[in-house]
Symmetry: C2
Subunit: 224 residues, 2 copies
């Protein structure tokens, strides 16, 4: 789908999204934020009930300047959040362990986005179907048209939420260790152990009708 | 280190940690919770400032019936949380995309733990050093003794928090798609696309002293 994007802010959209520790790792432009969101599959949604924070992992997808997630209409998380309470949606992609010559300078390479806001529900069966199709196409492009179409009851049983990316920031660390200058001479191996989410060989359902090949689109699923 | 463990509760430790949606996915025994926590490397910590939830990804480790995380003493997250405010620490490990014959029955395979509580700081340089060594050994067993030892200033600049696992629950989905019975006859590929965090080939620091081999322990790093 076209990327309608959002205007890249020159600086943090709010004081509370500004990266204060290690500010060089902070990014606030839409292109950087969108690239991280489009690479990931799972976000962690934070919300508060009776003063207690909860953090729920869930699948998400992005369209334009909004991020979407969905679930059962019976879900506690979705029922609370659709009431308009403050939400924090965080996506983090781990890229490596940074092994320095001292314990203190060990670190992780990562790409992360934090978005603050309140969520709204997608209303109307046609609108819901359209965004669910977009989610399916993001996950496995071409699969939606192969599937048994959703029933009215299934659409009704699914809640879809969306939230603006107006108040979002990215934080990124890349590269090797930054050691104290005298430590570079030490006889200690230093570098990066890369980490990535990888897909494996598709495992067919034991009840699969014989003769159906693994779809090509499963080779192109982006998971992080 | 020995696993002092915590007694496996026969049921959820609290109403707010009981898995309500799809209760068959809920687990409350220490062995299941610890296995997930010991496999993962990154948690997402939720906390509340002025009514706004924040979700911060960070490395963590487990010892006995407590989970630990650390960071700069200047970190906003750590400064807030060490004040004793309510925290939710969530670990989620993505294991696969479950491809069903209808969009509605698509799902994810995962292992997740959610722990609620309040955090305390590890006080005292010796105690801090001991738990930082435990973290290093969990990450890369054998590396700690190779490193340039921490200085007093580095220990001072590091805050270590820990939280009880007394109020924790696990949620797990495994296996293939569960389709509506009539849909099994459809000519649609169904099954699981496995996903896992994988380590790559270690990348040496460009400033590495020549002749230092890649340590063997990097082949045994568990990331999820």
């Amino acid at each position: 789908m076209p990327d309608t994007g959002h205007a890249p802010p020159a600086k943090a959209p709010s004081a509370r999204t500004r990266v204060k520790r290690l500010p060089a790792r902070g990014h606030y432009d839409g292109a950087t934020i969108n690239a991280i969101l489009d690479a990931g599959l799972i976000c962690h949604v934070g919300y508060v009930i009776d003063g207690q924070p909860y953090v729920t992992p869930t699948a998400y997808w992005r369209e334009g300047d909004r991020v979407y997630w969905h679930g059962s209409s019976a879900s506690r998380m979705l029922r609370q959040i659709k009431g308009g309470i403050p939400v924090c949606l965080t996506v983090s992609l781990l890229d490596g362990i940074v092994l320095a010559r001292s314990g203190f300078h060990h670190s992780l390479n990562y790409r992360a986005v934090m978005a603050l806001g309140t969520a709204e529900t997608v209303e109307g069966d046609r609108a819901k179907l359209a965004v669910l199709e977009a989610f399916s196409e993001r996950l496995a492009p071409g699969r939606w048209r192969e599937l048994r179409p959703p029933t009215a009851q299934e659409v009704k049983a699914t809640t879809v939420l969306h939230m603006s990316l107006n108040e979002a920031s990215a934080k990124i660390r890349t590269g090797g260790p930054i050691d104290d200058e005298p430590d570079y001479a030490l006889p200690i191996w230093a570098g990066v152990l890369p980490i990535r989410l990888a897909t494996g060989v598709p495992e067919a359902d034991p009840r699969l009708t014989p003769g159906i090949p693994v779809p090509d689109y499963l080779q192109n699923v982006s998971v992080g």
